[in-house]
């Protein structure tokens, strides 16, 4: 195939630079704001660089909001529990949709995907009543139970597409050798599906981690159970907002997950390419 000329390469890099600027702009802005002392943050005219920048805010955040570490932990913990709960529902259902022909398959699959249409925000009041009657209000469960439910449909859709790519012959021969259905699912299908499982689990984890705000502010009042996206608003006081520390805490708070993600992202694109994404 033809190569790119130097000129074309420069244009491509320029385009990537513009794209990346858009993607990374808020993070850069947060970092810059976190470095400015609070009293100098509100300074006109706008200064891009100033001499008084420091990392002071990064040590102050832990005193201003003593539970910050807890919030960061809660976020990761909630996303992990949500992912495991969600996957335990998704795996058998996706396998069933991928392998079996049965009455009501199309309709039930359609109904599952239809759940995507109901955002948590639409169903808040009945959900509140429901969680109250289970005694889940103001516990971790108030956040991970509805969180997992809304992630199940997409999980089934992604994993079903992946499982359909696994040749059925392997299961046939295991069946003929006398293996039970449960044994086939556990020992034949699941090991082969590991790359697909990783993709779906990572996508679910991202969903569970990125969207913890609404359920947290509505169903939980206990500070010790708050995830980071809700807890971060403690930097907004009655009198003033400690912006620089809020920015610093936001950046510190997302580091654990960014590190986890750095190791997993390779599997995500690879796994999606291998089939989960195709019809």
């Amino acid at each position: 195939m033809e190569r790119f000329t130097i000129f074309q390469k420069i244009l491509l890099y320029l385009a990537i630079a513009v794209f990346m600027t858009f993607i990374l702009l808020p993070f850069f802005e947060m970092f810059m704001a976190s470095l400015r002392p609070l009293q100098h943050l509100f300074r006109s005219p706008y200064q891009f660089w100033s001499d008084d920048m420091s990392f002071q805010a990064y040590t102050d955040i832990w005193d201003t909001v003593p539970l910050l570490g807890r919030y960061i932990f809660n976020s990761v913990f909630l996303a992990t529990v949500t992912t495991f709960l969600c996957m335990s529902f998704v795996i058998p259902a996706a396998y069933s949709f991928a392998r079996f022909k049965f009455r009501g398959k199309k309709i039930s699959l359609g109904l599952f995907l239809g759940v995507n249409m109901f955002a948590g925000a639409v169903l808040l009041i009945p959900l509140y009543k429901l969680l109250r009657s289970f005694g889940f209000l103001n516990t971790y469960a108030a956040m991970f139970v509805p969180g997992a439910a809304f992630l199940v449909p997409t999980g089934i859709w992604l994993l079903k597409a992946y499982l359909e790519k696994i040749p059925i012959e392997l299961e046939e021969s295991a069946w003929i050798d006398g293996a039970s259905r449960m044994y086939i699912l556990k020992r034949v299908v699941l090991p082969l599906a590991v790359p697909g499982l990783i993709v779906v689990a990572v996508a679910t984890f991202i969903g569970a981690y990125a969207q913890q705000f609404l359920f947290a502010i509505t169903f939980n009042q206990k500070r010790e159970f708050m995830p980071l996206p809700a807890g971060i608003f403690e930097f907004i006081g009655y009198q003033s907002v400690i912006w620089n520390q809020m920015m610093a805490a936001s950046l510190v708070g997302i580091i654990p997950v960014l590190i986890i993600f750095l190791f997993l992202q390779k599997y995500l694109v690879e796994g999606l390419t291998k089939g989960a994404v195709k019809e």
Binding site: F19, P92, F100, K101, F112, V115, V152, L228, S250
Partner: protein, 307 residues
């Protein structure tokens, strides 16, 4: 075809066919879970929408809430704004997603790093990303206003979130920012799944890059584009956190979409019954939209196959 084999095959096939019970057994836990967490609240929303439920109790009031809503002067504007919001935001996400995926698919040095760097807006909690954008849009100290003032394009501070139009489009930009990375990654995965032979054959035939993009890349990844646009449309329609954190639906309702409006009515004003009516409207309109989308899609597919 060996006869023994086909014998086994037909046995297996019979078994698969008679597996309705086992299939449903595997689906049952998810189905039950969703019926409790999503199905029941939906039914309860329908019931509430016919009541005047609030903090002080509830009684049945028939279609009163619906009549009130349909006669409300503000409501058509909110519905129109929601669809405009969805259409604009989803189109931009798709366009940027394709461009982004193309750029990240080119063999260039640093490609692996770019692929990682594109993902943070998707991975990071939306609320955190929005806090960053709050500062970006700040009129005095934000980077956009700051740079524009330095360049002399703006002669004074400009609060992006304080005026009706700029607030709306700022919210669109942030929503696009949140949604683009996921779309990009899915498109990228789809592009990598396209057989390289197709491109080489076209190249040998003298097809230009643009032609190969139009005639190979786009048709090959079309199923993913279609699925992602529908999913993205539904998510954007229901997008809550971004608008809530940036503007809470303001200034003067300029960024109030149906979901924000529903939340305000039900949670902030404690009008659970009237709020439920609005929630139901969101569900009904989304269902109609999704059905229309799928019907139009089927028609297009049929025509495509006939050719």
């Amino acid at each position: 075809m060996v006869s023994e084999n086909s014998d086994y095959n037909s046995k297996w096939q019979n078994l698969v066919r008679s597996q309705t019970f086992y299939a449903w057994l595997l689906i049952a836990p998810s189905a039950l879970f969703l019926i409790i967490i999503v199905g029941w609240p939906l039914a309860e929303t329908v019931r509430l929408s016919f009541t005047d439920a609030g903090l002080g109790g509830e009684k049945y009031i028939g279609w009163y809430n619906f009549e009130k809503l349909l006669n409300s002067r503000k409501y058509p504007g909110i519905v129109g704004r929601t669809f405009y919001w969805m259409f604009l935001s989803v189109s931009l996400k798709m366009i940027l997603g394709i461009i982004g995926a193309l750029l990240l698919n080119v063999k260039l040095k640093g490609r692996a790093a770019f692929r990682v760097l594109v993902m943070p807006p998707w991975v990071v909690p939306m609320a955190i990303g929005c806090i960053g954008w709050l500062w970006v849009y700040n009129g005095h100290f934000g980077i956009i206003a700051g740079v524009l003032m330095h360049l002399g394009i703006l002669d004074g501070p400009f609060e992006f979130l304080a005026y009706r139009n700029s607030a709306f489009y700022s919210a669109v930009v942030t929503d696009v920012w949140v949604g683009t990375p996921m779309v990009t990654v899915f498109f990228l995965a789809a592009m990598q799944g396209v057989s390289q032979d197709l491109y080489e054959a076209a190249y040998v035939d003298g097809a230009s890059r643009w032609y190969r993009f139009r005639r190979i890349t786009i048709p090959q990844i079309m199923p993913v584009i279609i699925t992602m646009s529908l999913l993205s449309a539904i998510w954007t329609f229901n997008s809550f956190e971004i608008i809530w954190i940036l503007t809470e639906g303001g200034p003067r309702g300029a960024t109030t979409t149906m979901i924000i409006d529903t939340y305000k009515m039900a949670i902030a004003n404690y009008k659970f019954g009237y709020g439920a009516t609005r929630a139901l409207m969101v569900v009904i309109l989304l269902a109609i939209f999704s059905l229309l989308y799928l019907i139009v899609l089927n028609k297009v597919n049929e025509r495509f196959k006939l050719k």
